[in-house]
């Protein structure tokens, strides 16, 4: 595929809760280019999860336009959306979401089931990917026989098995200890180096700091989108971002605040 993997233009998402409109996203524009490495940060309720669901094609915007893999999701039927998720996106979740009674290999092969690929080929490709994430020796283990880090690697292998152009990782290190989390991030980065765009959704600034681009969200809006420069810039931004997230009260609606770093 050529061109950016995901293009969001003035995207909004409003939930209808018992007749009351609750805006979760209020006009967000964002492009995930091929090979991107981006972190979306923000406090809980900032809209970052909603944004991730939209970027992953799990949900549709109520306003604006959203192109995934070059296709406008507003024009797609639910089965076409499902196909888009299968082909363009790979999801990695905080709680892994592995099928409990299923081996690592069959968990990884699951997306291929919905692509109509035969069992033999599925198993071969799943084994290949488990090898690639360093779990070649764990192929026939079930999730309860593996550590959290291993489970997340299985989940990453599953996200990769269809050859997606974007990996969407929602707090991928949230349930892992620091060392394990770091190795999972290193795995994601090595995949990124091979050309897969990686979008991390996190509230952990250390995690966010590793990304090349950082999007800060608050109250359903992007309050800063800074390309992160060299290693020096990373640490500075990380410090500022941390203050923004933890110390930020509910800001004025519609006010796009200045760089969070300036507040602290």
């Amino acid at each position: 595929m050529s061109g950016p993997a995901i293009v969001a233009t003035e995207v909004s998402r409003t939930y209808d809760l018992d007749g009351v409109s609750v805006p979760a996203l209020r006009g967000v524009s964002l492009t995930v280019a091929e090979g991107d490495y981006m972190a979306i940060v923000g406090a809980s309720g900032s809209g970052k999860s909603t944004l991730m669901h939209l970027l992953g094609g799990l949900d549709r915007p109520t306003g604006g336009t959203l192109l995934i893999g070059g296709r406008d999701v507003a024009t797609l039927s639910p089965p076409e959306m499902a196909r888009l998720r299968n082909e363009v996106i790979g999801f990695v979740f905080q709680s892994f979401h592995l099928l409990a009674r299923t081996t690592a290999r069959d968990n990884v092969a699951l997306p291929l089931v919905y692509r109509g690929i035969g069992r033999r080929e599925r198993r071969a490709r799943a084994a290949e990917l488990l090898e690639r994430v360093g779990l070649g020796h764990r192929i026939d283990h079930r999730p309860n026989q593996m550590s959290g880090g291993e489970q997340q690697r299985v989940a990453i292998a599953r996200a990769l098995v269809t050859g997606p152009s974007v990996l969407l990782a929602d707090e991928p290190t949230g349930n892992l200890d620091t060392a394990t989390g770091r190795s999972v991030l290193e795995l994601l980065e090595s995949l990124n180096a091979e050309g897969v765009a990686v979008v991390l959704v996190t509230h952990d600034n250390e995690v966010a700091a590793r990304a090349r681009r950082r999007i800060v969200m608050r109250d359903g809006l992007i309050v800063s989108a800074d390309p992160v420069g060299g290693p020096g810039a990373v640490s500075a931004e990380a410090a500022g971002g941390s203050a923004a997230v933890s110390a930020d009260p509910v800001g004025g609606f519609g006010v796009v605040s200045a760089e969070p770093g300036e507040r602290s």
């Binding site: 999801f91 099928l99 919905y114």
Partner: protein, 394 residues
């Protein structure tokens, strides 16, 4: 998703909750088994009765007073042996005409007593009906002409009066009058709810004397050929009508009796099947219930499957197949149980049972249909789940 894969996933899900699956299936198993077994019993009963009616003899024409119509009052017979003679002339062969006058009587031998159905008959009875002797001889024409007090005992009566002893030549009393036993019948068993081993045949003339009457209850004719049976019946009814202008007569053939019995038993079998069908329906509701629970339990799994590319119909198919698998496995087990029950009943109880292909096909088809019907709602609900909401469920 390929169908084979969907089957595998469905089977896997059932295996994961083995006890629950088995209990859910049990409802279907019992329903299908009930349908198969009850229909088998209905069919078996029908076949047995048909055999017995046919076993009476072929080309039978039974003449009774009164009209064979619903709602008509039963008539008291005004026929006598003279009418039997008149009918014999129409038929042209006395040996093809049988008469009967029946009465329930106490029969004694020594200090033993039995209540039996005394039948006053002509010596022609064995040539009109199929009736075989076990011992001795049947009544003769001279027995009838002279009203000789001789009797042929049904197997049941013979056993209760004489046990294992040979009754031939022994004295019995019927309604206080002495008779001599000259023969016994082969054992026949029940027919149309009547114990035919409880009969005692005596000359019709002796029976009339005992009962103080000269009438007979009815006539039976074995027609010389099947084609003429209806015409013969009409001739006989017309002749009897001339002789008894105040009375209606009816002539019925075995086919007509079978037709009426078949209708009644068909309705009976239908009612049994319907009752069993209700239990199958209840089993189906159980399947639906469990599938709804299953969808709720696996909401997160549904969300994950959707996230990695499952279409709504993939998810729906998975749950629908799970329901169909529950009911079809239940259906197969139920058929086995139903067949076993029917065979055991047929073998070890007096209840006859005949397993028919159509009842098996019906039960299996219905159980699969129950799975589809009761699986559709849970499956649709699963297919329509919003993946975002489903993934968030804990």
């Amino acid at each position: 998703m390929r169908l084979a894969e969907a089957w595998r996933v469905a089977l896997d899900a059932l295996r994961a909750n083995r006890l629950r699956s088995v209990l859910t299936m049990l409802g279907v198993v019992i329903g299908v088994a009930a349908v198969v077994a009850l229909v088998a019993i209905g069919t078996g009963t029908k076949q047995q009765i048909e055999q017995q009616v046919e076993g009476l003899g072929s080309n039978l024409l039974i003449v009774v007073p009164g009209r064979l119509e619903a709602g008509s009052a039963p008539s008291v017979s005004t026929m006598s042996l003279d009418d039997a003679d008149a009918v014999s002339r129409i038929v042209g062969d006395r040996s093809r005409v049988a008469v009967t006058i029946a009465s329930g009587e106490n029969v004694r031998a020594g200090n033993r007593e039995a209540f039996a159905s005394m039948q006053g008959v002509l010596e022609t009875t064995p040539s009109v009906f199929v009736r075989r002797l076990d011992r001795g001889a049947y009544l003769t024409r001279s027995d009838v002409n002279t009203a000789r007090r001789v009797a042929v005992l049904g197997a049941g009566v013979a056993t209760s009066l004489f046990g294992d002893r040979d009754p031939i030549g022994r004295q019995i009393t019927i309604g206080g009058v002495r008779f001599r036993v000259i023969g016994t019948f082969e054992r026949l068993g029940q027919s149309l709810g009547v114990d035919r081993d409880n009969e005692v045949h005596v000359p019709v003339t002796a029976a009339q004397r005992l009962l103080g009457t000269d009438r007979i209850d009815g006539l039976a004719i074995r027609a010389p050929d099947r084609e003429r049976i209806d015409a013969l019946g009409a001739d006989i009814v017309a002749t009897l009508g001339e002789r008894h202008p105040d009375t209606d007569f009816s002539a019925v053939t075995q086919e007509q009796i079978l037709g009426v019995l078949g209708d009644i038993l068909g309705v009976l079998t239908g009612v049994l099947a319907a009752i069993a069908g209700i239990s199958l329906l209840v089993g189906g509701v159980g399947v639906s219930n469990i599938m709804l629970v299953s969808v709720r339990e696996r909401t997160k799994e549904i969300g994950l499957r959707k996230a990695v590319g499952a279409r709504p119909r993939d998810i729906g198919l998975q749950f629908l197949l799970e329901a169909v698998l529950l009911t079809t496995i239940g259906g197969i087990l139920g058929m086995a149980l139903g067949i076993a029950t029917a065979l055991l009943a047929d073998r070890f109880t007096p209840v006859p049972a005949a397993v028919t292909w159509w009842s098996l096909a019906l039960a299996f088809g219905v159980s699969a249909a129950v799975g589809i019907v009761f699986g559709v709602v849970p499956a649709q609900r699963a297919g329509r789940l919003d993946p975002v909401v489903a993934l968030r469920t804990e």
